[in-house]
């Protein structure tokens, strides 16, 4: 589990109000809050820090390269458009990972090895930006110039996922299927409606499809590829092999006779030997443009993907109360599954109970309450952890309270109406 502390950065002031400011990132981490309270800043910083830790671990970057010339701000945080969020000496960012601790304070970054690299699993990090539907709305994203870097990186991964798809796949909503015409590079939505079969280019499909298809395509491809490679990569990454690769990296970096271009190529070749072992999926607003029922289907798919490999992680930002409600179903579902597994229930009762559970939430999409955390970000720049009851997210979250507030406000209007006309 990694931890991140953020203070005086963008809209965030004192940051997390517990644990000396360190937020835990668990198997499933959800960030909620009003516009401009810093959800995306937290998600993007976590992506950046995780990426730096991975690059340092693999030897693709040397600590001195990262810490010098304010590269952390000008290069690595600029990648996520975070450069102007820094506030001089006031900004504090501290990331504690399993392999490295990165501390930014007094306007400079320092890096420490944490001594636990054995526990570190190399993550495939995917940041899924909120602008992803833009890539679906145009026919040839390849030809677009000036895309934000994170969107461009997502497009590269999406493009790769499209090419790697073998036979399309069924989408969890809309009774539809995704297919990709590789020779003409056209993504298609094929479905069945009362009027018969239809076939639409993704660029012509509804905004909901344009939002969730790229998300699912990339998440599915990465989760599956890591799951398939996992067994092979385990042995390749263990003990001696890691040391050997590390010493080879050092040799390349310290060799003054080869050009930096050649060095880069050699490092890339070498780093390919560090197969990704886990999937860190950071998703902005999975609910984008979706009907509540579809939001549930997409969330359950993302939870299914996070469950494919033990140490996968999912980070979500959301404005949707449904996401919290459906996550609650996934948590309660896991609790019942765990109780069924440990209790002496007659086999026939157990089978029936699992069938009933499956009708609500697939067992592969359930998640333990202890592996889940919801953070609320407020307008004062404070971050707090949402209370739980037996692992279930509290009903007193910002999104749910806002639904209840509509009741309160409606009752106020009834009062006003009564004052005016009942007498």
């Amino acid at each position: 589990m990694s931890q991140l502390k953020i203070q005086h950065f963008g809209p965030i002031e004192l940051g997390f109000n517990e644990n000396d400011g360190f937020m835990d990132f668990r198997k499933v981490t959800v960030l909620i809050g009003n516009q401009g309270t810093g959800k995306s800043s937290v998600a993007k910083l976590f992506a950046t820090m995780s990426w730096l830790e991975k690059a340092l671990f693999q030897g693709r970057l040397k600590p001195t390269y990262v810490t010098r010339y304010n590269r952390f701000v000008k290069e690595f945080c600029a990648y996520q458009n975070l450069k102007s969020y820094f506030r001089g000496d006031d900004t504090v960012i501290e990331y504690r990972g399993k392999a490295y601790t990165l501390i930014f304070e007094n306007n400079r970054l320092s890096i420490e090895e944490t001594g636990g690299p054995k526990a570190y699993r190399v993550p495939q990090i995917m940041y899924v930006p909120a602008e992803r539907n833009f890539l679906s709305a145009v026919d040839n994203p390849d030809k677009l110039k000036g895309l934000p870097q994170s969107l461009s990186a997502f497009w590269n991964e999406l493009s790769r996922s499209q090419q790697e798809i073998t036979d399309g796949f069924d989408l969890p909503v809309g009774n539809a299927r995704f297919e990709f015409d590789k020779s003409n590079k056209i993504p298609w939505i094929v479905g069945q409606k009362s009027g018969g079969k239809y076939r639409l280019r993704l660029s012509e499909a509804s905004s909901g499809f344009q939002s969730f298809v790229p998300l699912l395509l990339v998440s599915r491809n990465l989760a599956q590829s890591i799951y398939k490679e996992r067994d092979a990569s385990r042995s390749a990454l263990s003990g001696e092999e890691r040391k050997k690769i590390r010493s080879e990296v050092d040799k390349i970096l310290s060799n003054e006779k080869i050009s930096s271009e050649v060095k880069q190529t050699a490092l890339e070749t070498l780093s390919a030997r560090f197969k990704n072992e886990v999937f860190l999926n950071i998703v902005e607003e999975p609910e984008q443009n979706l009907f509540p029922q579809s939001q549930r289907a997409i969330l359950f798919q993302l939870l299914d993907f996070v469950n494919t490999t033990a140490e996968n992680e999912l980070v979500l930002t959301t404005h949707s109360p449904y996401v919290i409600n459906h996550l609650t179903l996934a948590i309660k579902g896991r609790e019942i599954l765990d109780r069924l597994a440990s209790a002496s229930v007659p086999q026939s009762v157990g089978i029936l109970a699992r069938q009933k559970l499956q009708a609500v939430v697939a067992s592969t999409a359930t998640v333990a309450g202890k592996d889940t955390v919801v953070y609320e970000l407020d307008e004062k720049g404070t971050i707090s952890r949402l209370d739980t009851y037996k692992g279930l997210p509290s009903d007193d979250n910002y999104l749910n309270k806002e639904l209840e507030e509509a009741n309160n406000l409606f009752a106020d209007l009834l009062d006003l109406e009564n004052e005016l006309w009942r007498a």
């Binding site: 109360p321 609650t328 309660k332 009851y389 037996k390 279930l392 749910n400 639904l403 009741n407």
Partner: protein, 171 residues
Amino acid sequence: MASIDFLSGTCQDGTTPAQETTAAVEFGLCDDVPKSPAYLDLHSPGKWVACVRNAKAYAVTFTSIDNCIEVRRANGEMESRCDGLLTYDDHLIFVELKEKNRSWLEEGIGQLAITIPLFFANHARESFVSQKAYLANSRHLLFQFSRTSRTQKFQDDTGVLLFVEAEIVLP
């Protein structure tokens, strides 16, 4: 604490009737008279805080509790109670009726959570095949919101399934 018979049919003043029974397929529960018990009504839907749908025409009894059955705390103060309960064919439904804009949810759940153990301290839980609790608010009929963690806690505290809605449908 002395035993309390919630189902005697009479309030503790010894005169006010505490129970009414109907087999109507639709009726309401009202609580619009200050300092008086909540009551069952067949004719004035405009006053209903909760509406009971009784498609199978069970003989349903509404028993008043608040302003009818007195329960004192150890210090002599009156204990907070829910408005009443519905019974039919060994099924039991605790009911709290609200007509309030704000702070009604915690307050209503609290009243139900206090009344339920008091009731079961005096009447065997096993004699009822199902036990539910309804919190209705005539001013909050429109927008639904999640009550998952509250429902879980209520179930753990009382052993009774909580519904926050103004329509009580008898299955």
